[in-house]
């Protein structure tokens, strides 16, 4: 067992974990933050995307011990004051989700996309979210949502 400490959604957390425990399992099962999902086991789908020290990262690709000392934001921590984040609001307005399973990861990936490129073109959005799979929407309403959020920034 390894002792780790990290800040998750603004709260200091300490835990003893098996070194092989993935960050996503630590978040979901130890901290019960189940908004971060698991869609594959090969780091393709992006359902598990969180912010690691402010940058989007696939939490199934990282061991919890590797995140020791870091700051993590999950979908539950994106809108700490109860107001929806502009991306959450835009996904709702534009029908950017159906089953909702990929949505938390998609939103977290979009957070970093818009930080890097505040006024992306449609093409740049499509490229920017191509590390995140959605099987329901055909992506069009997701692209619309990210465009809308960019316009509102």
């Amino acid at each position: 067992m390894a002792q780790i400490s990290m800040t998750v959604n603004g709260k200091a957390r300490k835990a003893n974990v098996d070194p092989r425990v993935l960050l996503v399992h630590f978040l979901r099962e130890h901290l019960r933050l189940t908004g971060t999902h698991i869609g594959c086991d090969t780091s393709q789908c992006g359902s598990c995307t969180v912010l690691l020290d402010g940058r989007s990262a696939k939490s199934c690709t990282i061991f919890a011990v590797q995140a020791d000392g870091s700051e993590i934001t999950t979908i539950e921590g994106l809108a700490p004051d109860g107001q929806l984040h502009p991306l959450q609001h835009a996904f709702w307005e534009e029908h950017g989700l159906q089953c909702g399973y990929c949505t938390p990861g998609m939103i977290m990936a979009a957070v970093t996309l818009l930080e890097d490129n505040p006024k992306p073109s449609e093409r740049e959005i499509r490229e920017g979210i191509s590390g995140n799979y959605c099987r329901c929407t055909g992506y069009q309403h997701i692209v619309n949502a990210i465009q809308r959020a960019a316009e509102k920034r």
């Binding site: 393709q44 709702w92 307005e93 055909g138 992506y139």
Partner: protein, 786 residues
């Protein structure tokens, strides 16, 4: 006097979804989010050979691990779990939830571990040692039909799961009359003949499957949470397989992260999880890994078609022969054998075809079983017929749109009885075609294509029509029953609760159904709650598949609402001293027609109905009623899809430049949600055309067992889809709604392939089998055969 704001009509409006606030905040509860006190975890040991006899299983190392509660082999499971049931009347081989002596596909379960956490459960499963006598793997479906290289199930010679008698023109209970089909081909001035493969696909909902089962020994009841499209069907089968009554089983579909047909089937893991929970008297959980999903969740499509289309040189279609061979994998699952029969059923497509003959053979192979995948049989029919029509247009040098126009079933011919025995409810195919041509600017697009070609670019256009069968019912067409159920309750405070058996997994029923009730009762949307997915709350139901939620489930809701409204009007009439027929429900009030001031608030009438002093004569207290709705027929939505595609001359890489989809689903409740459904269908249909394919090696090993090898379409793979609609209501239900969940997958696949063939027409290519990977296209450009 109470006043209230004027409420807008909501049906037909782009109302944003009521499901979304929880989902965009990560507050939805999917199966893997459920944790019960004392819950243990299951992991399956799966076969790593495609076909083999189990010589021995050594579970001792697994059992010795600290934290392992139990290990069961297939033989031990068989002591308390009956063989797997199916949902069709076709003959089926013996199929155990966990293999007992023979494995018949790679990934078939051979043992199961119960342990204190999921990591340990997997470790223990890995520690089980299985020794196999490997048998030859049956992989090629046409070879399989000859019994080569071996026979998988001894009771099914030549691996023939189903060898159906012919169907179509001249086929009746009394025999087969070939004269009409023979005459059609004798008269033909041109015959198009093509072998086409509609390849195997992995449905790949982003949430893989998962189950939590909790048997409570004291009460003798079972609660099972599963990522399923149909909790009521799950309850039926779980009760039968665990020896419980249906009243003792509660099945819950919590948030379900997509289904696409693959979560209709009731799976071995659901039975095993339930049976082990009952045996051990503790809650247990199983969550499928993605790599596990590729072998353990049913695949879709995989049907070979030999298509012959007979026509006159003026383009008049005379006859169609369709010989179908389906590779169904190793076993029959819930609906497996029935899916390809839908391909036969829809062979008539949108055309007046005077003579059709189809035959269907279903073949066992050493692969994961197939079952429904979005469209389920209808995309295959559309693909075979539309590809043949496209080839005919090319042969006759006709515009593909004009060839279709010449052969359409005409609006005045509905209801139209097809050569396959289906009765198309309503349609106006030319209207959809014209709308698509207009939206795509077809003539300008052709000029654009020709200009691009003049510059040496490989650009092509494709067009496809489709008609599909949706709103599945009546009961004669579905072994589970072809109805849907709803109960509508006006609560004491005037808010509305309604249940629906149409259990959604992304379709937005909580929104569309609330829109309907808000309009029906003249109350705000926020005052309506739609309950679903829990057999403890929803008394009866069938489920969501076959694009039936709105057409069948929505109608049941509407009818239940109408019953309650009639009763509520009687209470209001007593209060207002008016006649119940003179009342209107609007803006949160029930008032006398023409004098809105003479009214009572909706909530006050509700309150009165629960404390009815005095009780109006002939009325019982309360406001709650239910309806079962069984449609008299299926619905038949239709549409036209157009694609423009460019192929890189150097690399063979295809790029979609334009996609236009015109879909007619009848009346729409929420066009925003409908658009989303069509977008998703287009993505899966285009995915099949361009990048998706399940591939097995000659040894029956799955070569596309993860998202690294099986290509799920990404955002970058698509252009901006252009959507339009025509509206041709169905007479089959009072809403006029036909269903839209699968439509996108029908037209998109053949129109993209047609566009690729058109792009490569300078190389003399007439057909290319999917998927259209660059290497295949590059070879054609280099002068090789397709």
């Amino acid at each position: 006097m109470p006043t209230s704001p004027v409420l807008p009509k909501l049906v037909g409006q782009r109302v944003k979804r009521r499901e979304d606030p929880r989902l965009i905040q990560g507050r939805g509860t999917y199966v893997d989010d459920i944790a019960l006190v004392g819950m243990l975890h299951l992991a399956f040991k799966r076969s790593d050979v495609a076909h083999g006899r189990i010589r021995s299983i050594d579970t001792s190392a697994a059992e010795a691990m600290d934290g392992v509660e139990a290990v069961f082999t297939g033989a031990q499971i068989a002591e308390f779990l009956a063989p797997m049931p199916i949902g069709t009347p076709f003959p089926s081989p013996d199929h155990r939830a966990v293999a007992v002596d023979t494995v018949r596909y790679g990934g078939e379960a051979v043992a199961v571990v119960v342990a204190s956490d999921r990591y340990l459960a997997r470790d223990a499963a890995d520690a089980i040692v299985v020794d196999y006598d490997t048998l030859p793997a049956v992989v090629d479906l046409e070879l399989a039909m000859t019994g080569q290289p071996t026979v998988i199930h001894s009771a099914f010679p030549n691996n023939l799961a189903v060898a159906l008698v012919p169907s179509g023109t001249g086929v009746s209970a009394s025999g087969v009359d070939d004269s009409a089909i023979d005459e059609a081909f004798a008269k033909a001035e041109v015959v198009i003949s093509q072998r086409m493969m509609n390849q195997r696909l992995a449905p790949s909902a982003m949430e893989s499957r998962g189950v939590v089962a909790h048997y409570e020994p004291g009460k003798g009841t079972m609660t099972i949470w599963s990522s399923t499209q149909n909790p009521h069907i799950l309850r039926t089968f779980i009760a039968a397989m665990t020896g419980l009554g249906q009243d003792q089983v509660r099945a819950i579909a919590p948030e379900v992260g997509g289904g696409f047909g693959a979560k209709i089937n009731i799976y071995a893991e659901e039975y095993v999880t339930a049976a082990i929970s009952k045996r051990l008297g503790i809650p247990v959980k199983w969550i499928e890994d993605r790599s596990e999903a590729f072998v353990a969740t049913t695949h879709g499509r995989d049907i070979l078609g030999y298509v012959d289309l007979a026509a006159k040189r003026d383009g008049t279609v005379l006859g169609l022969k369709l010989r179908l061979i389906a590779d169904i994998g190793a076993y029959n699952m819930l609906l497996t054998a029935a899916i390809p029969t839908l391909t036969m059923m829809m062979a008539n497509a949108t055309y007046r075809i005077p003579a059709i003959r189809t035959t269907l053979t279903e073949v066992f192979t050493n692969k994961t079983p197939t079952d429904a995948y979005r469209g389920a049989g209808r995309p295959e029919a559309t693909y075979f017929v539309e590809r043949a029509m496209d080839m005919l247009a090319r042969e006759l040098q006709m515009d593909p749109a004009e060839l279709r126009r010449k052969n359409f079933i005409q609006p005045n011919q509905f209801p139209f009885v097809t050569q396959m025995g289906a009765t198309y409810d309503s349609g106006d195919y030319e209207k959809a075609l014209d709308k698509a041509l207009e939206t795509a600017k077809w003539e300008a697009l052709k000029a654009e294509r020709d200009a691009a070609r003049a510059q040496g670019r490989l650009v092509g256009l494709g067009l496809a029509m489709y008609v599909e069968v949706c709103g599945i019912g009546p009961s004669s067409s579905l072994p589970t029953g072809g109805w849907e159920h709803s109960q509508v309750t006006i609560e004491r405070d005037g808010r509305i609760s309604a249940t629906t058996g149409a259990s959604p997994h992304g379709q937005g029923n909580e929104t569309t159904f609330a829109q309907m009730l808000a309009d029906q009762f003249g109350v705000p949307l926020e005052h309506v709650t739609i309950l679903h997915g829990d057999t403890g709350v929803v008394k009866q139901g069938i489920g969501s598949f076959g694009s039936r939620s709105q057409a069948v489930g929505g109608t049941a809701l509407h009818l239940a609402g109408a019953k309650v409204k009639t009763k509520m009007a009687k209470f209001a009439a007593a209060l207002l001293e008016a006649h119940e027929d003179d009342l209107v429900f609007q803006n949160g009030m029930i008032s006398v027609k023409g004098s809105p001031a003479a009214g009572k608030s909706f909530a006050s009438v509700a309150s009165y109905a629960y404390v009815p002093v005095p009780l109006p004569e002939g009325l019982e207290p309360g406001l709650s009623d239910e309806a079962f709705f069984e449609p008299s027929n299926n619905t038949y939505p239709f549409g036209c899809h157009i694609a423009m595609l460019e192929i890189d001359r150097e690399t063979g890489e295809p790029t979609l430049l334009k996609v236009v989809a015109v879909d007619d689903a009848g009346h729409l409740i929420n066009p925003l949600i409908v658009e989303g459904q069509i977008h998703g269908g287009l993505a899966q249909g285009i995915g099949q055309a361009l990048i998706e394919e399940v591939v097995y090696s000659e040894e029956g090993q799955l070569l596309t067992g993860s998202f690294m090898d099986y290509a799920i379409p990404r955002a970058i793979d698509f252009p901006h889809f252009e959507l339009e609609a025509t509206v041709t209501p169905t007479p089959v239900n009072p809403l006029g709604a036909k269903g839209v969940g699968e439509a996108g997958t029908l037209g998109s696949t053949p129109c993209v392939v047609a566009a690729a063939v058109d792009a490569l027409s300078e190389f003399g290519v007439k057909h290319i089998d999917m998927m259209l990977r660059p290497e295949k296209l590059w070879r054609i450009i280099q002068g090789g055969a397709s």
